[in-house]
Amino acid sequence: MNFAKLGEKGILGQPPRLIYGSVCFLVCLLLLIPIIVHGEDEFSFELDEIEKKPLQWGGYAELKWEHMKINQGSAFSSLNLSDPSLSTRDRFSGSLQIDGRYDQGIISLNWTLKAAAQQDDLGWADMTDIYETYVSIKPTPHFTGVLGKKAYKWGKGYAWDPVGFINRRKDPNDPEEALEGYITGEIDLIKSFAGPLQTAALTTVILPVWDEVNDDFGEINNVNLAVKLYLLYYDTDIDLIYYSGNSRSTRYGLDFSRNLAANFEIHGEFAYIPDQKRVRLMADNSVLVEEISATSWLLGLRYLSENDLTSIIEYYHNDAGYSKEDMDYFFQFIAEGENQFIAARDDSLLSKAQDLSLKGYGRPQPGRNYLYTKFSQKEPYDILYLSPGLTTIFNLDDSSFSVTPEVIYTGITNWEMRLRFSYFGGGKSSEYGEKLYRNKLEVRLRYFF
C-alpha cells in the first residue's frame, strides 16, 4: 500500500495526519495496556477480599509419615506389642479438620469437626469426631452466652496447665493442636476500667456429666461448676479459678502472666486440690486408690533474643504425679507380668498393668518434676518463613528425657511442612527409657483452606 498516495486524501477520506496520529495512539495504547494492567495488578486491594459473609468455613488437610524405632525390651513395648521381634514401625496417617461459623445478628453457630485415619503394621484405624459445636449469643460487648460443645484452654502454661480444671490434657510436644471440648453452658461477663485495674472478666461454666454426656470427664450423674475471674491489673494478667462438683474433687487455681521487658515474659500457675484421687501400685503389687492433698504448679518464661531466638522454659511440679519409687514398682510389675506370660501363658498381671497404665501410669509425663524447654529461631540466615526449633522435656526425678529437633517451612501460601525427629533417652526403669519407641522421625504436610 502506498501511504504517500493515500496521504493525499487518506483512506475513508480522513486527513493523513489524523490517520498517522490514530495509528500511533493505538500502537502506544497497545504497548501501554500491559504496563497499565500490570501496574493495577501489581498491588491491588479488591473490596470483595474483605467482604464479610454470614457463613465462613476453613480448616486443613494433613498427611503424615512416621518412622519409629521400637525400644525393644522396654516396659511399654512388653505392654503394648504382641510381637517382641518388631524393631521398627511405619505409620501413614491423614486427617481433616473443618471449622466454621454462621452468623445471624447477635447469634452465631460455631463448629470444629475432625476426621483422621492411619495405617501401620497393626492395621487400619480411623475416627470422626465433633470437637466443638456451640451457639453463642452476644447482645452487648459485655455479655456472651454459650451453649454446646466447647473446648476450654484455661491456664498460662505453654506445655502444661495445672489450673486447666476443665481442659483436655494437651500434648507438650504439640501444645498448639485443637482439642475436643465438653458439652457446657457458659456465661461470660467483661468490664473495662480506667486505672491500674484495666479489665475484669468473669466466666462461669456449667458442665453436666451424665450417661453419654461428658462421661469421660468424671463420675456421672453430676452437674459441675467452673468459674474463672480474669483481671488485667498493673499490666499483669491474673486468673483466679475455682471448680466444684462431684464428678471430680473441688479445686482452686491461680495463674499470672506479665512482661518484665519488651522481650521478656514470665508466667505461672498454681493449683490446689485438697482431695485428689490417685491410683497407686504398692510394693506388694496391691492397688490402692488414695486421696491426697495435692498442689501442682508451673513457672515459666518466654524470651526473645536480639537475633530472633525465642526461648520458652517451664518448670512443672505435680504432687499427684508418681515418684521414682512408684514408677520403679510399676516397671517391675510389668517385668513380672512378662515373666509370668512367658512361663505360663498367663497374662493376668500384664492385663492389670495395662489397666494401671490407663489409670495414670501410662499418661504423658506421669512423674512429679519436669523441665520443658523450647527454642525456635525465626528465619535463620535470612531464609524467610523457615523456623528451626528444638524441644526438650526432662524428667528431673529419673533423669530421662526427650529431645525433639524440628524444621518448619511456611513459604508457600497455605502450606506448612514440618520435619521432626524425636529421641527418647534414659536408663532402665526411667520414664523415657521405658517408652515404646526409642526414636521417631516424622514428616508432616498440611494444606490450609
Binding site: 498491588f43 486491594f45 473490596l47 477480599e49 474483605i50 464479610k52 476453613g58 486443613y60 471449622d99 461459623r101 452468623d103 452465631s108 452476644k138 460487648p141 459485655h142 456472651t144 473446648a151 484452654k153 484455661w154 491456664g155 498460662k156 505453654y158 498448639e176 493442636e177 485443637a178 482439642l179 461470660d188 467483661i190 468490664k191 473495662s192 484495666q198 479489665t199 472478666a201 466466666t203 480474669y230 488485667l232 499490666d235 494478667d237 502472666s257 512482661n259 521487658a261 519488651a262 522481650n263 515474659e265 518466654r302 526473645l304 530472633d308 525465642t310 525465626k378 528465619e379 535470612d382 524467610l384 518463613y385 513459604g411 501460601t413 497455605n414 502450606w415 506448612e416 490450609f448 483452606f449
Partner: protein, 253 residues
C-alpha cells in the same frame, strides 16, 4: 564615662537577649516538632477507627505472600488486628493495650502474651508495624530540619519497649503527611525504610497515603507493601479490647 556605661549596658542587654532568644528558639523548635508529629497522626487516621490492610511480602525472585487483616483502634493505646487471609492465618488476632501485646491462635484457643518485636507473619514486618500506635504517643521530636518542601523530624522513642529506638521522618509541608521514615535500632543501625505513597480520599475528610512500601538492609532484595482500605471513624466499647473478646473480633465487621 557615661557613654562607656551606656555601651556596657547595651552589650549586656545584647548578650542576654541573644541567650534568651536562643533558648526560646530551641524550645520553640522542640515544641514545633511534637506539634508537627501530632498533626501527622491526626491526618493519618481518626483517633478511633476501623480499617482493612493488605500486606504483601515480595521475595527477590518475585514470589509473593499476601495477608489481609482487619484492624480496630480506640483512643491512644487500644488496638486489635484480625487476620482474614490467607487460610493458614485466618482467625489469628493480636491485641495491644499500651505496651502489652497478646496473640490469639484459633487452634490454641487462648491468648498468649507476645513481645512487640516478634513477627506474627514472618518477613520484614513485625508486630509493632501491624499494631502501631500514634507516632506522637511513642516518639518525641528531638530536632526539626526545614528542607524546603518538607520537614525532617528526628524522633526518639519515649520508652525502650518501642520497636525502633529512633526514626527520621520526612513530612510533606503542604499536606503534613509522612513521605518516608527511616527506622533505627538503639545501636544506630538502620533497620528498615518506609515509603508512603498513593494519596487517596478515604471519605469524611480523611485524605492520606494508601500504600506503604518497606525495605530493609537486613533483608536485601526483599520488599513489603502494605495497602490500606476502608479507613473510617468508629466508636467501640472498651470491652472489645480485652482477652476474652479476641476470639470474637470478626463479629465487629
Amino acid at each position: 564615662m557615661r557613654c562607656r556605661h551606656l555601651f556596657k549596658i547595651a552589650k549586656k542587654t545584647l548578650v542576654i537577649t541573644f541567650f534568651l532568644s536562643s533558648v526560646w528558639t530551641a524550645a520553640a523548635c522542640a515544641l514545633d516538632g511534637n506539634e508537627i508529629l501530632r498533626q501527622v497522626d491526626e491526618n493519618m487516621q481518626p483517633q478511633s477507627y476501623e480499617m482493612y490492610r493488605k500486606l504483601i511480602n515480595i521475595e527477590p525472585d518475585g514470589s509473593r505472600k499476601e495477608f489481609v487483616f482487619y484492624t480496630v483502634k480506640k483512643g491512644q493505646d487500644k488496638m486489635v488486628a484480625l487476620f482474614l487471609s490467607p487460610a493458614s492465618e485466618k482467625g489469628r488476632a493480636t491485641l495491644r493495650l499500651g505496651d502489652n501485646m497478646w496473640l490469639y491462635i484459633p487452634n490454641v484457643g487462648k491468648p498468649i502474651r507476645i513481645t512487640s518485636l516478634q513477627s506474627v507473619v514472618g518477613g520484614i514486618f513485625n508486630n509493632s508495624d501491624i499494631l502501631r500506635l500514634d507516632y506522637s504517643l511513642e516518639y518525641e521530636a528531638e530536632k526539626v530540619t526545614d528542607q524546603g518542601d518538607s520537614y525532617l523530624l528526628d524522633l526518639k522513642a519515649k520508652s525502650p519497649s518501642v520497636a525502633y529506638a529512633g526514626l527520621k521522618m520526612e513530612i510533606d509541608k503542604t499536606t503534613l503527611l509522612p513521605t518516608s521514615i527511616d527506622c533505627y535500632a538503639i545501636s544506630g543501625m538502620l533497620i528498615k525504610t518506609l515509603h508512603y505513597s498513593k494519596i487517596k480520599d478515604f471519605g469524611a475528610g480523611l485524605v492520606r497515603p494508601s500504600m506503604l512500601e518497606t525495605s530493609s538492609p537486613l533483608y536485601k532484595g526483599y520488599k513489603s507493601v502494605m495497602l490500606f482500605a476502608k479507613i473510617k471513624k468508629r466508636e467501640l466499647a472498651d470491652e472489645v479490647f480485652t482477652l476474652n473478646y479476641m476470639s470474637r473480633v470478626d463479629e465487629l465487621r
